[in-house]
Amino acid sequence: MLDAENSWEQKPVEVAFRSITKRFPPDILANDRVSFEVKKGTVHALLGENGAGKTTLMNIFYGLFSPDGGEIIIQGKPVKISSPREAINLGIGMVHQHFKLIPTHTVAENIILGLMSTSFFFPAEKSEAEIRALSEKYGLKVDPRARVWQLSAGEKQKVEILKALYRKASILILDEPTSVLTPQEAEELFATLRAMKEEGKTCIFITHKLNEVKEIADAVTVMRKGRVVSTILPSQVSLEELARMTVGKEVVSVVPRKTLSNRIVLQLQDVSAMGDRDFPALLNLSLSVREGEIVGVAGIAGNGQKELAEVIVGLREVTGGRIFLEDKEITNLLPRDIASLGVAYIPEERNLGLVGEMSVAENLLLRGYYQPPFSQGFWVDWEKAEAYSEKLISHYQINPPLSDIPVRLLSGGNRQRVIIARELEQKPKLVVASNPTAGLDVSGVEAIHKLLIQAQEKGAGILLISGDLDELLKLSNRIVIMFKGEIVGEKEKEHWTEEDRREIGLGMGGVKG
């Protein structure tokens, strides 16, 4: 253990972040005086929950955002990076979570795209030898002549890494690289990272998976809510400690809860479904929600939560199993029929629930326009709709209180209120809420939480899917943990303790408690 510490301590500093601060309007503090050092020839993990500020920090480092304060020092020299091109010139390469490749071009063409030094004629062919040599050296097997659209996600990632290496990157940033990989591909990636380390290259590895930190990182910086919690050596901490640092230990506020009834509102029996990439996203998942109960779904984004919400509301096909709302089977019914049976949905992407160009009044009517009292068939009674929207605007405190402005002009929090107002006014039996407070400021979060509790008190069952563990601990009667399309843990409590948080945090990282 001491050896590891010594050898890490003795390495020269490649990059130092000094008090980096970044605010996003209106008042989100994405990075708050972030400081840490990355040593040369190491893999440095950046660990944290969604929204901890990891990606923002790396986007600043790569010149995509400019910081409001602080400085970056590379090899002892303070640098100002105002564009990705400058970052590339400084030897920084970045592999984004969503690949930035042109699907119709070949691998070689994508790699050399935008480089000035290539030859004018047949640049792709002339660079092939060098690309092959690089892939040989770092174990990045991919055919330079293949078209990018033919490649798997793992191969695309290899192209991105090759692109950075071809540009002589000495510092490589990887943003959640394993989220798109199969376990074997992840192993290959780790082998590549080790080969790069041998060459003296430095990797910054953004992740929220605890096991990966243990496996590949020489050092880890844990971030939470925009701040650095600690920079430590993975060999010196246990998984439990890492988990606790990641999710924090604020006092869990207790919400008065209604006594539970035992009537089941929603029941999923062995439900399976495919994800967008034709990859099984839900595997024989069973789950139930009772009347007046808030069931929290904990888990790192991308473990099937989105698909879970979509199969319930009818937006994704169920390939196996059955879903019941009270006694009625709703498996693979049309979205509108499921909604009219009493299922409200607050989607993760706010744009999905709204039509930006349409007015607030029209958006509030998106569920009710075709049925009484607003329509008896063909025409819509817009006067009634107007009065209805005025009522909702004041009841849900939508600001500015104007019903005729396009909804896209509202702030994120107010747009979310429009969705919630519309969905809850349907008097739902079940509310499916997907990260309902993502990106909102503190007061916005509080307001949305209050609305959800109100719905619960009226007897609705609520399935709350959230990447924010604090939110789940604050609101849930019961928490289930999702990992790779399955429920790997479940807890029911009146009051949540520190111990619970630790266990759930571990479960989210894929460690069975």
């Binding site: 937006l315 999905l352 629930g353 160009e357 029209e362 998106l366 075709y370 819509v380 396009p406 002009l409």
Partner: protein, 368 residues
């Protein structure tokens, strides 16, 4: 906020295009198109002043000119109406030209070969013509909903099929018995002629239908449940899916309606003006393509189509006057059409800015 400061006024990105900024940028596009179009007159050694004078005299200068403009407004109004609804739903029907021709073909069959009693001829022509245009449009609509075939290409391609179908009919099976070497059909029986206003060649039935539909279409979009769904599908297909709106139904409906109205316009042309089926270029004058610009300029607002279709009707009759009086080919009108569309697209961006004028004193007071 994007702000470019100039000396006496500044330009600011406004949050949404206002009515005045839309009107302003549209007018600017038309003016710029005419300014550039003036160069064409110079090629013919005609001063642009004389050219435009002839142009306006021929389109609006007299009652006769006005009636000629009106005559051309009618098909643009009917077709532009349907296209507005389709464009609102983001269904890009480029096939109105072919749908017009199919309407004309159906009407010709009724008038010449159906053997219906004469009092039924006109109603049957309009109903069958509507259905023929609608049916023609449903072909690409079904391909779009079933196989996700891009409707821009398929509707456009079907125009050529319709064009050659008409050529085949007038030169082959439907070639008139008394027309000797010409290629067109026999003249329709008079019971199949539309009544025109006074001595003009303006059939008032189609004109009234066009205006009524513009008003109806406006209220349909604004007030009806189906119109609301149509706008949701058009502005945010993802949200429509989220709400469980049947997108296929909307695509089929808008294609059916826009194709049907084009067919209806085609009937109006043969029953009101030509009284026979002839070369496709003479039946339509490119109305199906011009109506795309008509609907675009109207920002797919059915009421505004009344205005824009009249504007393009004037452009067509003015072009006719240029040909007759100055010997300039009629195709010049296509150049104007193209220029207007070109400038419309390029000034589209402007409508999102607003200009804020400040008087000089204020500028000085603020320093800068």
């Amino acid at each position: 906020m994007d702000r470019k400061k100039l000396t006496q006024f500044h330009v600011e990105l406004s949050l949404q295009p206002t009515l005045s900024s839309t009107v302003f940028s549209s007018l600017l596009a038309i003016i710029l198109a005419f300014a550039c179009g003036g160069v064409i007159f110079l090629f013919y050694h005609i001063s642009p002043g004389v050219g435009y004078q002839t142009f306006f005299r021929g389109s609006l200068g007299s009652w006769y000119a006005f009636s000629e403009t009106l005559k051309r407004t009618i098909p643009l109004l009917l077709v532009g109406e349907g296209l507005s609804l389709a464009f609102r739903a983001q269904v890009l029907n480029i096939g109105a030209e072919g749908q017009i021709l199919l309407g004309a073909v159906a009407a010709t069959w009724v008038a010449l070969f159906s053997g219906l009693p004469s009092f039924l001829l006109l109603p049957a022509m309009f109903i069958l013509g509507f259905l023929a245009g609608a049916g023609w449009a449903l072909i690409p609509a079904i391909f779009k909903t079933r196989f996700a075939v891009n409707e821009v290409l398929s509707t456009l391609m079907l125009n050529y099929v319709a064009f050659n179908l008409v050529l085949y009919l007038i030169a082959g099976p439907w070639k008139g018995k008394g027309v000797r070497g010409f290629t067109y059909t026999d003249t329709f029986p008079e019971a199949a002629w539309l009544k025109t206003m006074g001595i003009t060649r303006v059939p008032y039935f189609t004109l009234l239908v066009g205006i009524a539909l513009a008003i109806g279409g406006y209220f349909f979009l604004k007030k009806s449940a189906l119109g609301f769904e149509l706008r949701i599908v058009g502005s945010s297909p993802e949200t429509a899916r989220f709400l469980g709106i049947n997108e296929e139904k909307i695509i089929l409906f808008t294609m059916f309606l826009s194709g049907g109205l084009s067919g209806f316009a085609g009937v109006g042309e043969v029953a009101g003006i030509h009284h026979l089926l002839r070369h496709p270029d003479h039946i339509s004058l490119g109305y199906g393509y011009t109506a795309i610009i008509v609907a675009w300029l109207a920002r797919a607002n059915p009421l505004a189509v009344i205005l824009t279709s009249f504007l393009f009707g004037a452009l067509l009759s003015g072009g006719d006057a240029l040909r007759v009086s100055l010997g300039i080919p009629f195709q010049v009108v296509s150049v104007f059409n193209g220029l207007i569309l070109f400038f419309l697209i390029s000034t589209e961006h402007l409508s999102r800015y607003r200009i804020i004028w400040r008087d000089k004193k204020e500028v000085e007071k603020n320093g800068s």
